[in-house]
């Protein structure tokens, strides 16, 4: 755990070397919405129908930034090799990277979400709090797989494309369910299916995390 925390600390330090990074993330989130809004010049009704999807697309695209970054910074000065040399087992490295990627993605989401609320003029009801476990579960599913696949993709020439190729198909069930769950909460109809679906997402999170944690060892070694 100590090693994982060291990696986390180092990553966050580099990521937030200055407060500018957070500011640009915020503006970036704003821009994603502005872009979506003016490219889809559609009626408000249609907008509301696609809103949960838009929210998750925005989450995913900002998440991809974090994932692409996570191991790209390790490429400079041969640090990827240095990680293989460290007396730390793969799981620790995975855990450290997973935490930093997840924290950054959650930060992004917490910046995107208020803009989402304002632009779609959503009512803040007590039910909205249900979005917190939904977003958490969806995000962790995305990053737990994303972290290990990012470490795989970084070894290839077309890193960014390859990460998408590997990650998106695998993570799609979780994203679809998260969109569904988000739609239920926003639409205000928490049907019977809500909790079982949420549980299913969490179950997948656990599986993805556990498998990645165990397999990471093999990615570091040459």
């Amino acid at each position: 755990m100590r090693a994982a925390l060291s990696i986390l600390k180092k990553d966050l330090r580099m990521e937030f070397r200055s407060k500018d990074s957070i500011l640009s993330m915020w503006i970036f989130s704003l821009l994603i919405f502005v872009i979506f809004n003016f490219t889809f010049e559609v009626s408000r009704l249609v907008m509301l129908e696609i809103a949960p999807g838009l929210l998750w697309v925005a989450f995913i695209f900002s998440g991809m930034f974090g994932l692409n970054h996570a191991f790209a910074v390790e490429k400079e000065n041969g640090n990827l090799r240095s990680m293989a040399l460290m007396p730390v087992d793969g799981g620790q490295v995975y855990l450290g990277k997973f935490m930093s990627v997840t924290l950054i993605m959650l930060l992004f989401e917490s910046l995107i979400f208020p803009i989402f609320i304002i632009f779609y003029d959503l009512q803040l009801s007590f039910q909205m709090f249900l979005l917190i476990p939904v977003i958490l579960a969806g995000t962790i599913g995305f990053t737990s797989l994303g972290t290990i696949l990012s470490a795989v993709a970084v070894h290839t020439r077309d890193q960014q494309i390859l990460l998408s190729l590997l990650l998106w198909p695998l993570v799609s069930p979780i994203i679809i369910w998260s969109v569904n769950l988000t739609g239920m909460v926003i639409g205000g109809d928490i049907t019977q299916g809500f909790y079982p679906l949420l549980t299913r997402v969490i179950a997948f999170d656990v599986i993805f995390f556990a498998v990645s944690f165990m397999l990471f060892e093999f990615i570091l070694e040459d």
Binding site: A3, K9, R13, N79, R81, L85, P87, D222
Partner: protein, 236 residues
């Protein structure tokens, strides 16, 4: 009987079409200081990578202290200096060392960081980002990084790169001290005089094999140069 620090049996390595090492047998005892010499592309870096475990041999067996180089315990005994410096440009000198100290579980880290920084004379720049360092300053810092956790096996791939006369002197005396402390050291360099000054034993790699394995005391650098690096052998 004491285990050798390092034992390679019939180690080969190739990268697709290109052969880098062929049937290397090598035993190095604890406390030895061995220089590895050889032409560009002879396979020196590849050999060190295989010993450190970052690169797996295509065939053959590598044993570090009787175990796998990838064992956590073996890894914590190891330090590598290569032409990649293993430092983060966006962290300061101190922050880089703090990171490595915590990864390697260095005790009394703060004091230790100060010590190594002092020994490579970088104290006055410790709060500057590594990205702004000159080549030689970066190399000094990577030396500090490698010595931080008091490794017992040092793999040094051309560690003198970019160092000025003063820093070369510093590194030489640091290495002498390491030798006195009984550490095992493998060094590749193209500077035969320094190699002679430091090490007892030397290997010459050529055409992916160990061409010569002898004692430094028995030879002089110019003879080695004559014998292995003269241009009439250049045709391969």
């Amino acid at each position: 009987m004491l285990l050798p620090a390092l034992e390679l049996t019939k180690v080969s390595k190739d990268f697709g079409r290109i052969i880098a090492l062929r049937n290397i047998d090598l035993t190095i005892q604890s406390g030895e200081f061995v220089s590895i010499l050889g032409r560009n592309g002879a396979g020196k870096t590849t050999l060190l990578n295989i010993i450190s475990g970052v690169s797996k041999p295509s065939s053959g067996l590598v044993e570090l202290y009787g175990g796998d180089p990838a064992d956590t315990e073996n890894k914590s005994k190891l330090a590598v200096i290569s032409h990649e410096v293993f430092l983060y440009n966006n962290l300061t000198a101190t922050e880089n060392l703090e990171y490595y100290a915590s990864i390697y579980g260095v005790k009394d880290a703060e004091q230790r960081i100060k010590d190594v920084l002092q020994s490579v004379e970088l104290m006055h720049r410790r709060f500057d980002l590594v990205g702004t360092f000159s080549r030689g300053m970066t190399q000094r810092l990577t030396i500090a990084r490698a010595l931080l956790h008091e490794p017992s096996l040092l793999l040094l791939d051309e560690p003198f790169t970019g160092l000025d006369q003063l820093a070369i002197g510093i590194l030489i005396s640091l290495l002498r001290k390491q030798k006195e402390l009984g550490r095992t050291i493998l060094l590749t360099t193209h500077d035969l005089h320094t190699a002679k000054e430091l090490s007892q034993r030397y290997l010459i790699l050529e055409k992916h094999r160990i061409l010569h394995d002898g004692l430094m005391a028995d030879t002089n650098p110019d003879e080695i140069r004559q014998k292995y690096f003269s241009s009439d052998r250049s045709g391969e």
